[in-house]
């Protein structure tokens, strides 16, 4: 599937280590800017801790707002990493090679961002650790019936699992960096991190086995995480529009939709920033674009079924809620924007091969998807809360305060900073995987046609 760009091993090393061993000019500026955004966000959060959640826009019917929306959004983004990496690895898709690490690293940082949102959200964050089985002196185990206990356990499992997943795939590359790093500390630190990697056949075998095992084991965790996040809403009977059985698969497919889009976005950014044109080829964007068409269409079908079954009940509270979402400002405009950005603009774009093969257009369309999917979460969470049916006396609405906006911006800056730091200190394209890809690449000549092929071990 890939166009043939044959690169020597030395060239691969030079290209992919350029960022790690050198220091591009823009890097410090970007990091500085992101740190500024993060500092502002942390300041705003400090203010929130000091004064109480009154400084947010939350109020009595709408007790969950931007933070929970953002939490679900980042959990969603985190799903792409494993989706791309584990599934494509298990199915031995060749085009995955340069894409996997970007996706996996994004998983880790977006999971951290998601967890931080819970911290921003709760009333007394300094006691948040009570949702873990800790602090036994109180003689009180946490309530395992609560989705808010399932959540942290699933997310933490996922975070640990995917960190290991990234790390195992990173070890050979760290060893490469170790051999080339200069200075006083860098060789030592990389030396420690690569766990004595020498590249012996035994080490390679163990690394491959660990990678495959982790792929297979992290997949169920991946499914459980977003199912559980969806159950934060779906098991509740108190809010109209949340109590729907489709939520778990619907959230997962939505997460994959936004997550894979985010991968395409970050790929384009990485390509531009670290000059990786030889590695992230138009073919990779093409493959992701094809994947996205399938994912987006499936997601839209789930969306459709969810809606049909909301209307199917013909119960007035449900109908009133849907009417609020679709026909009343400001939700109407958000709903329209959501539909256009998450499906009706990007998907027709992806149908064209020229769009799929253009990193710039893919970047734009996937940004749209992420705006749309952020709005989707917002539209699931807020309108149901704003008009709590059927007791209508306490209806309300919700406007985020400046504090919430700053804190949410902080999460975006945090993930961006994480990616920047990671790609500065570690190769963002897996070097060993690229080289392996070059090794297993073959061609079969059939008549006058040359068919790309790859070498596999005999089963």
């Amino acid at each position: 599937m890939q166009e043939h760009v044959q690169l020597s091993q030395k060239k691969i090393n030079d290209d992919l280590l350029a960022g790690v061993l050198g220091m591009p000019k823009w890097w410090l500026g970007a990091v500085g800017f992101l740190l500024l955004v993060i500092a502002t966000g942390i300041g705003a959060y400090g203010y929130e801790i000091n004064k109480g959640l009154g400084v947010t826009g939350l109020n009595r019917p709408v007790l969950w707002g931007f933070y929970i929306t953002n939490f679900v959004f980042w959990i969603g983004i985190s799903h792409a990493g494993i989706m791309i990496s584990a599934i494509l690895r298990l199915t031995q898709a060749e085009w995955r090679r340069p894409v996997t690490r970007v996706a996996e690293v994004m998983t880790i940082f977006s999971l951290m961002a998601a967890l931080s949102n819970i911290m921003f959200h709760v009333g007394r964050p300094w006691r948040l650790f009570w949702v873990y089985p800790y602090d036994f002196s109180r003689g009180l185990f946490m309530n395992i019936r609560s989705p808010f206990v399932w959540d942290p356990s699933a997310v933490m499992t996922y975070l640990i699992g995917s960190t290991l997943f990234v790390y195992v795939a990173l070890i050979p590359d760290i060893a490469v960096v170790r051999d080339r790093a200069t200075g006083k500390f860098a060789p030592k630190i990389y030396g420690m991190l690569c766990l004595g990697w020498r590249g012996t056949p035994r080490q390679w075998k163990l690394q491959a086995i660990a990678g495959i095992l982790l792929s297979a084991l992290v997949l169920p965790v991946f499914v459980s995480v977003h199912s559980i996040v969806s159950w934060d809403f779906a098991v509740a009977i108190g809010v109209e529009g949340w109590h729907s059985t489709i939520f778990a698969p619907y959230f997962i497919i939505g997460a994959i939709h936004s997550g894979v889009s985010a991968v395409a976005m970050i790929m384009a950014l990485a390509m531009w920033m670290w000059k990786l044109d030889n590695y992230l080829r138009p073919d990779h964007f093409d493959a992701i674009g094809r994947l996205l068409i399938v994912v987006a269409t499936t997601w839209f079908f789930f969306f459709f079924v969810e809606w049909i079954f909301a209307l199917y009940t013909l119960e007035s509270p449900e109908l009133a809620l849907r009417e609020l979402q679709v026909f009343q400002a400001p939700y109407m405009w958000l709903f329209l924007a959501f539909l256009l950005t998450s499906f009706f603009i990007p998907v027709p774009m992806w149908l064209f091969k020229s769009v799929r093969r253009s990193p710039g257009l893919m970047f734009l369309s996937t940004i749209l998807v992420n705006i749309g999917m952020w709005l989707e979460r917002f539209l699931i969470i807020i309108p149901g809360l704003a008009r709590r049916q059927p007791l209508q006396f306490d209806w309300g609405s919700y406007h985020p305060s400046i504090v919430e906006i700053l804190v949410v911006a902080e999460t975006f800056a945090f993930v961006a900073l994480g990616m920047l730091l990671f790609s500065k200190f570690f190769p963002i394209i897996p070097i060993f995987d690229m080289k392996e890809g070059m090794q297993v690449r073959e061609e079969i000549k059939i008549g006058r046609r040359i068919v790309p092929a790859s070498i596999r071990e005999t089963p």
């Binding site: 778990a248 698969p249 079954f309 199917y312 013909l314």
Partner: protein, 482 residues
Amino acid sequence: MASHNASGHNEEHHAEGMYVPFTSQREVVNDLVTKHDKISDKWLSGVAAAGFLLVLGVIGFVMRVNDGVSDRMVWAYYAMMFSFILTTASAAPMVAIAPRLANAHWRRPVSRVAELWSAAGIFSLLLFIPMLWILPPLTDGRRSLWFYNSDDPFFSKVPVYSPHIWTTAALLSLAALGIMLLWLSAMPDLALMREHSTGWKQKWSARLSGRWIGTTEQWNMLHHRMGIVGALYFMMLVFVHYLVSTDFLMTLVPGWIDSLYPLTHAANSLQAGVATVILTMFFLRKFGGYEDYFTLDQFWAMSKLLFALSLLWFWFWFSSFNVFWYGKKPSEQAVLKYLMVGSYQPAFMAGFILSFVTPLLVMMWNRVRKSFWGPTIMSVAVLAGTFFDRLRLYVAAWSYPGVGDYRVDKHEIPFDSIPAANMPGVPDVLIVLGVIGGAVLFYLLAARLIPPVSIWEQKELMLYKLHKAYHRTEVLVLGKPR
């Protein structure tokens, strides 16, 4: 003849574990055309047995017709069997479509086996005809996908036979797409038969293969069309499941508002479809003489698929169950009681154990997945599990006592105690046997007309799959045409 000779041949020239029965395309063509040309006794006895079962089914059906169509309860088992065929046979072609789109080489001998099941789509269409009479129009006040409401000035204009109309249309399209897919993918083989067969088969294949001579243009067109028809088949399959599981199942139980269920129904059918294909593969291997084609590769790959889909079964089921169970709404609790823990509990437990627990515990071992018997036994379990799962849902829904007593705003199932299960009578048993026999009969007849192993895909494989020495070992080189 092939198996023993070939394995001897294998040991002589190749590394252990490698299995290369044919060395040239001509051998493949000869082998497959010869096998397909002769009518074996096993095929005849299969047809006879299936035909006998079908006759039994017709007898059962006639007995039921005597009972009339006003009481839906007596038709519960018939409805269930219609859905069972839809779940198994109609989903089987997906096994041809998905791996073909993913360009997986192991699917090559499997895809025709799977596509031939779309012949049984015609049978499910026939089965559907009586359902049109059994299911009452929307005037009984039940909820429906079509929002019919006699009190509302706008929604009273919805045709009261909407479920019947739309499901018929969707089923017709599904059957048509299935046949089209089968025909498209058989085109090169029909052309081969035109050249190599004799007698009526040659005439027949000459007519169907049209002007196929295998130009590049034709091939490109064929791949393109197969992709599109396959994707459409998949979409139509999901849509049919969506319609059937709502209008013919969920609406009959008033409190059952389960937005995931249509997709569960479809996901279950993919699992059952894979099981159906594995079982067919096994029979073709065992009795059809196709040992050289259905090798461990195919069984291994298919059993991975079956394993994954069995896990999916649980996830979909649990997603629905958890929301109902945790929410504790009386209406939903009543649905759970009626469908899972009430009189249909044994059927539910059987379905749960056979469709999920057993495959999970058995197929998590690679040694089982990488065998002939493992996947086969597991697909029997999965099919039985699907049978019981469909039984507890359809029979329960169609035997729901409050027929004709629905109100749109009704939240709850009105009964205080769960009614007893609707046990099958003699006609029901006959119908169950007959429907299975009918589907098998359709398959066997279709396999007579079109070779059950795709010849051209096998030939293609010989081009794309090479064995090559690599340093000190031997490797496979797999071509991935794009």
